[in-house]
Amino acid sequence: MATVTHVKKACTVNPLKMSQPIGAALAFMGLRGAMPLLHGSQGCTSFGLVLFVRHFKEAIPLQTTAMSEVATVLGGYDNVEQAILNIHKRTKPEIIGICSTGVTETKGDDVEGYIRLVRERHPEVADLPLVYVSTPDFKDAFQDGWAKAVTRMVRELVSPPPPGIARDPGRVTVLPGCHMTPGDLDELRTILEDFGLRPSFLPDLAGSLDGHIPEDFTPTTIGGIGVDEVAGLGASSWAIAIGEQMRPAAEALQERAGVPFRLFPRLSGLEAADAFMMFLAEISGRPVPVKYRRQRGQLVDAMLDGHFHIGGRKVAIGAEPDLLADMGGMLHGMGAHITAAVTTTHSPVLAGVETDEVLIGDLEDLERRARERDCDLLITHSHGRQAATRLGIPFFRMGLPLFDRLGAGHLVSVGYRGTRDLIFALSNLVMADAELHHEATPDTWRVVDGDSLKSEGEAA
């Protein structure tokens, strides 16, 4: 059980955290025909765009209201109006998701009021779905922006089902947190379908940012869940929320459409996957398919093979709360010690991480702790690369952004198969590092000066 602490320093060094608005924008990218729009200076959008392009290696739809200094002072109605009309004219989106930024929040722009006025003045966009979410940069983090955007989508887009209507027993809404990759979503979709369930994912990045070649070129998102399908989510018999961050969205769906939900804080690791499978068996009324019984056996075998390499490792993890909880739990289950843990924002899930202390901080904090506590495995997003080089320890890239290796969208960690492959990947990394840096030599165990043993690290 962990205590959550906050760093006391004025300067963030090597940020782990990214901003809320782009987390919200990414959530909108899981809708079909969507154009996310950041209400702020053009740089707010440009940085987010470059970040996602580098991570997904895909064309990214993301627009800006291009607020100038003068517009910021006077208020951004004209810019919001022009942006909506231009996007409508140029790209014919099915939905525009509008996220505020620090600049426009500091001024105090009433975007909801702006949207009402735009709809009144311009009949051509009166019925265009426009979902607004307030996401100032100076509060919270990426994960929070994602969660808030999904909650807003539920509130704005889901139609409450008529009273007394029978729910569709096969229909399930999945509300994935932003720590789920498109690969994870596809894995989950397959699992649910194998239980005879028909899942809808909100948002569905697997449809939009999974790297497929589209049928035709469009400037908005390709794939993802359609606005019409979102409207009908209220008919689901169950909602599955993945990650604590999705609790508000699940509660909103319950409140709006009476859909009961089950929240899975984790999906990686044997116990987490078992709980998930048994829940699906329960709601589908079907036994766990043979395929997954075999996969479970494979995972158990992988755990036995992998624990030699992962067990006893002192791991330093830097990740947003839900990813930290998921990976921390899985690694703890493999016998690794979560020796240094740094995250970006508050979450109830942090107290349950299997470590002494979770720090809300940056990668400088993670690096310093990893050095002081002799960590021998680093897990964080690509920005950990400099720290990993300085620490000289193996580095497993996880989270977003992941820009200096391929396949970010297809890294799978959920379920039996995902956990199995993740254990292999981590074990292989550790083995390769041992071969490169920790091969035994005649002097590895030699006692020098009668007392000091040469450590493995020094032997390297």
Binding site: M18, Q42, S46, F47, A59, A66, F138, H383
Partner: protein, 548 residues
């Protein structure tokens, strides 16, 4: 804010800018950069531009005063290389929270500077202003001054908050900060008659090192590169250089011009992209140095080196020429690279299907016209959709562009090569151009393109998206009305949303013959004014009509 707006006005008044010289006083005041359209824009902000320009200074701590978005979403994302210090790749930000916004962030900023100096002891700290503290009135100049006095170290305010304009303006504001606070503040240990500054070169992928050995061989010393692989001190004593080369088009023209004015350092605008351009640049450097007193034999030694290197490069490129026969390239990039790369590609035997002139100045465009002839297909502000159509129409065999537009080509299964800042290869100088040609060949002739273009075996070949798109294009081609409609629908003025057809109609209907008349009738070119030259092109293309 008043001093910032004064600086911006000063930058807009840049007399050495040819583009500026052709503008009216009113236009000049509006600025040299295009105001972006809400909902139709993509590009960095002034803060981004300032950081791009200065971050390659490798031993400086670059501290961003703002909320997490400004640094957290973007740090360590540039391909500049360092031959030593790594501090420039460390992300420093005040990560402002709500309290800082309500009560002001100056105290946090001051403490952040102190923490950096205590922990990292850099030769200087650069403090970047961003939109929010600019709005709430944090006075970074005062904080930097106090910190400088307290800690006895240069703490340099970079006043370029994102919302004052686009990237290009930020480049110049960064230059202003160097001129005001850094350049001329220290003295070099020694000077030589062969000392030059290179201004506006960022050493992306280490490309400066493709040219530096040649300068070394000639005994020419880069006293200061602003800013690729630069050190703080080198910039501080750069005023002792004998001559300067300004690269990357107009990004830092203010630095080059003001250093000439203040310190008498003559400069020329040149490029190390392309064989001919590299030779010209070396010649100009040698000439300027000799003019300033370097021994005249430098000229002969330079010519000898050029002859040797050109011969070597041509020999390396020659085998590719037959393979490139009839292959067409679409070049999408900004500014100076348009014309400097065009020449190089033609040297290798490639044909140009078109080139973008989005960020190019009028002068750049003239140079492209010289190189390609009057019929040059210049693709101004091409939308991704248009790029895609052009590629699919097989007018081009390969697209060379920056990272942002790459996916258009990749999704169309069209060979594509990255030539902007995120690229992995260095393309400067003679060796760089050979490398570019090799990379084009490697990309163009990779069998992967033929494979990825193959429809799935279960697809009906007549019903693939390629087939459908081809059919739509063919229908358009067969119907002159539709083609004409598409031609007329091309946007000319992005600010006011005026298309080509509207301008042509107005010219015809009212017999317009001047830009001002078109402005009055159509509102085109009354926004940022960047499309004025395009309107003039339209007028030039319709002289007979105007006369009627």
């Amino acid at each position: 804010m008043s001093s910032l707006s004064a600086t911006i006005q000063d930058v807009f008044n840049e007399p050495a800018c040819a583009k500026n010289a052709t503008k009216s006083a009113a236009d000049r005041k509006k600025g040299c950069t295009k105001q972006l359209q809400p909902g139709g824009a993509a590009g960095g902000c002034a803060f981004d531009g300032a950081k791009i320009a200065l971050q390659p200074l490798t031993d400086v701590a670059h501290l961003v005063h703002g909320p997490i978005a400004c640094e957290g979403n973007s740090w360590d994302n540039r391909g500049a290389k360092s031959s030593g210090p790594t501090l420039w790749r460390t992300g420093f930000t005040t990560d402002m929270n709500e309290t800082d916004i309500v009560f002001g962030g100056e105290k946090r900023l001051y403490k952040a500077i102190r923490e950096i100096i205590e922990k990292y002891d850099p030769p200087a700290v650069f403090v970047y202003q961003t939109c929010i503290p600019a709005m709430t009135g944090d006075d970074i100049n005062a904080v930097c001054k106090a910190a400088r006095e307290k800690f006895g170290k240069p703490v340099i305010p970079i006043n370029s908050p994102g919302f004052v304009g686009p990237k290009n303006l930020g480049n110049k504001l960064a230059g202003e900060a160097l001129l005001e606070h850094v350049i001329g503040t220290e003295e070099p240990d020694e000077t030589t008659p062969y000392d030059i500054n290179i201004i506006g070169e960022y050493n992306l992928s280490g490309e400066l090192w493709q040219v530096k050995p040649l300068l070394d061989e000639l005994g020419i010393r880069i006293l200061s590169c602003i800013s690729g692989d630069g050190r703080y001190r080198e910039v501080a004593y750069s005023h002792r250089a004998r001559a300067a080369m300004m690269v990357c088009s107009k990004a830092m023209i203010n630095v080059a011009r003001k250093m000439e004015e203040r310190y008498g350092i003559p400069f020329f605008e040149g490029s190390f992209y392309g064989i001919g351009d590299t030779s010209d640049s070396l010649r100009q450097i040698a000439r300027l140095l000799v003019d300033r007193g370097a021994p005249a034999d430098l000229l002969d030694r330079t010519e000898a080196l050029i002859a040797r290197e050109e011969a070597r490069a041509w020999a390396a490129i020659a085998p590719f020429k037959p393979r490139f026969q009839g292959k067409k390239v679409l070049l999408i990039t900004g500014g100076v690279k348009s014309w400097s790369v065009v020449a190089a590609l033609q040297e290798a035997g490639l044909e140009l299907a078109g080139t973008s002139v989005k960020k190019s100045t009028k002068e750049d465009k003239e140079r492209i016209k010289e190189l390609l002839g009057q019929d040059a297909h210049m693709i101004e502000d091409m939308t991704p959709r248009e790029m895609y159509r052009l590629l699919k129409d097989a007018k081009a065999d390969i697209m060379l562009s920056g990272g942002r537009s790459q996916f258009v080509a990749l999704k169309a299964a069209m060979p594509w090569l990255d030539i902007n800042q995120e690229r992995h290869h260095a393309y400067m100088g003679y060796v760089g151009m050979v490398k570019l040609v090799e990379e084009i060949a490697r990309t163009l002739f990779n069998p992967v393109w033929a494979q990825v273009r193959r429809p799935a075996p279960w697809d009906d070949p007549a019903d693939t998206w390629q087939a459908r798109a081809d059919a739509a294009l063919a229908a358009e081609a067969a119907d002159p009305g539709k083609a004409e409609q598409a031609r007329r629908a091309a946007g000319v003025c992005a600010c006011k949303g005026v298309d080509l057809g509207t301008i042509e109609d107005a010219v015809r209907a009212h017999g317009l013959s001047s830009l001002d008349e078109v402005r009055r009738h159509t509102t085109a070119a009354t926004g940022c004014g960047a499309c004025a030259s395009r309107v003039e092109d339209v007028l030039a293309a319709l002289p007979a009509l105007a006369a009627e």
